[in-house]
Amino acid sequence: MLSINNLRVVYHDVISVLNGISLEVKEGEILVIIGANGAGKTTLLRTIAGMIHFYNGDIIDGDIKMGDVSIKGLDSSDIMKRYSLTYVMEDRPIFEYLTIEENLKAASYSRWDNKVKDDIEMVLDYFPGLKRTFNRRAGYASGGEQQMLAIGMALMTKPRMLLLDEPSLGLAPLITRELFQIIQKLNRSGITVVLVEQNAFAALNIGNRGYVVEMGRVVLDGEGQELLKNEDVREFYLGAGETTRKSFKDAKRYKRRKRWL
């Protein structure tokens, strides 16, 4: 469905964030992307969604293809309209001073048809918690509700592909589990999901496939369960690894192994 080939992205002409990343998203899957802070995960999503110019970034090499068509350099609203791809930014991208109802309506801007009311009902079915605060300003909703709202807003755009940037950021474990269940439910209804997560364990558990990104390139890929069992992933991203305590001598070995390939 979506393939990214050797993509390089530079901010402000100097800060090179993506250094030739290549990956592929297959139709109907949940693809998980994990990586440390600063690995370039958010930049990757911004680039796919066509918002990189807004952040003073530039694509200097490589290509993004939707099917066979290159979507490189298209504006975000064009990408959304033509390819039904919606990017949910990190840290709850809601409009705090609008009510929840207005938030949902605002997100339906790209369609302008009269099915908005039905779709709001549909979103409320997915997220019944939003009914309670439907007419209040979204800024007063709890963190969990805000994240639910953000995904609900994304649903209002009728996406075929969702890019989720750290939806579990700052949420309690129980809420996170609920959220991931909803993501699975959405996926079963036919939406392809690209999930960027710090909560690697939970994410890989629901993901079909996963990529590990480091320094702006993919260093490891595989099935979700396969990655969960991978020793390096366990050690660096799940904090599990070997159970014995390490001495300083071993810490050195840790550093050597971090080079992956």
């Binding site: 609203s77 919606t86 991208p93």
Partner: protein
């Protein structure tokens, strides 16, 4: 007492025009955190566009007024296209600097096209002078105030009752988020500038109607500074209240302080008011109350 009420009444009518000026600044500030310093030039330019249609070409007012506003909106949109759009996503400060440059360029263009002498400007609006007992409210300021408040309400309805308005409010809150949800922020900004330019033209026409129109009227645009600072840079209701405050302050200063020998104090009084308000409430009377979750 009669004098006082008379002065307050006069102040309210002119204050409504100032409120409209404030609104024009506020909607642009909310959307892009840019202070439009070229407001005075937009005001004179819009008034001149109307002047050409109404006085030079002789269209009836019902045609000249909407067409003039549409032309002003188009000019606002074109200016945004060339000067503001390329800076989207950059620091709001750089956009504000651009509006300073715009002010100079537009003033030069106005002088180039229409010269710097004044044009007599008189709309033959029906006389609605109110004369009751010892009160006398002249027709022109009443018209100006009424038209301004009508425009103000139309803008509010547009912002709070239509889908376009909702999109504008969403972009005003966060451009990046709005773009991520498929709202074309660039286009919305263009619309905002066009609307703002049209409203400023309404104010410009009404202010010119008090006397004459010339390039020196750009100084009226400066009145919007105390208005938005008193009301709060991002508050629409603040613009309305502060507009009236500025109008009344000006009028009272003219009635009570100027006769003491301080000629011209009328022009300065709103800034004193602004200082006092800023000492007490640094964000203005209705400046943003930040949402804090409990």
């Amino acid at each position: 007492m009669i004098d006082f009420l008379q002065a307050v009444g006069d102040g309210i009518f002119i204050g409504l025009v100032y409120a409209l000026l404030g609104l024009c600044i506020v909607i642009i500030f909310k959307a892009s955190e840019t202070f439009n310093f070229a407001i005075g030039e937009f005001l004179v330019f819009g008034a001149f566009l109307f002047y050409v249609l109404f006085f030079d070409l002789g269209f009836p007012i019902v045609v000249a007024f909407p067409v003039g506003l549409a032309a002003a909106a188009a000019v606002g949109g074109i200016i945004e296209w060339f000067s503001i759009r390329p800076l989207l996503g950059r620091s709001p400060l750089s956009m504000t600097m651009v509006t300073l440059g715009l002010a100079m360029v537009m003033r030069a263009v106005i002088q180039f096209i229409w010269g710097s002498h004044s044009y007599s400007f008189f709309l033959e609006l029906p006389d609605i002078t109110v004369e009751k007992g010892e009160f006398l409210f002249i027709s022109d300021p009443i018209w100006a105030g009424m038209l301004s408040i009508v425009t103000f309400i139309v803008i509010l309805l547009f912002l709070f009752r239509t889908r376009w308005g909702l999109a504008i409010r969403a972009v005003s809150e966060d451009q990046a988020k709005a773009m991520a949800f498929g709202i074309n922020a660039r286009f919305i900004l263009l619309i905002i500038w066009a609307i703002s330019a049209a409203c400023i033209a309404v104010a410009g026409i009404m202010i010119s109607n008090f006397g004459a129109l010339s390039v020196t009227s750009v100084s009226v645009g400066l009145r919007s500074i105390p208005v938005v600072l008193i009301g709060g840079m991002d508050s629409i209701i603040g613009a309305l209240v502060a507009g009236i405050i500025v109008g009344v302050t000006e009028s009272l200063a003219g009635a009570y302080i100027e006769p003491l020998g301080l000629v011209g104090f009328k022009e300065v009084a709103p800034y004193f008011m602004m200082l006092i308000v800023l000492f007490i409430r640094p964000y203005g009377l209705f400046g943003t109350v930040r949402i804090e979750r409990v």
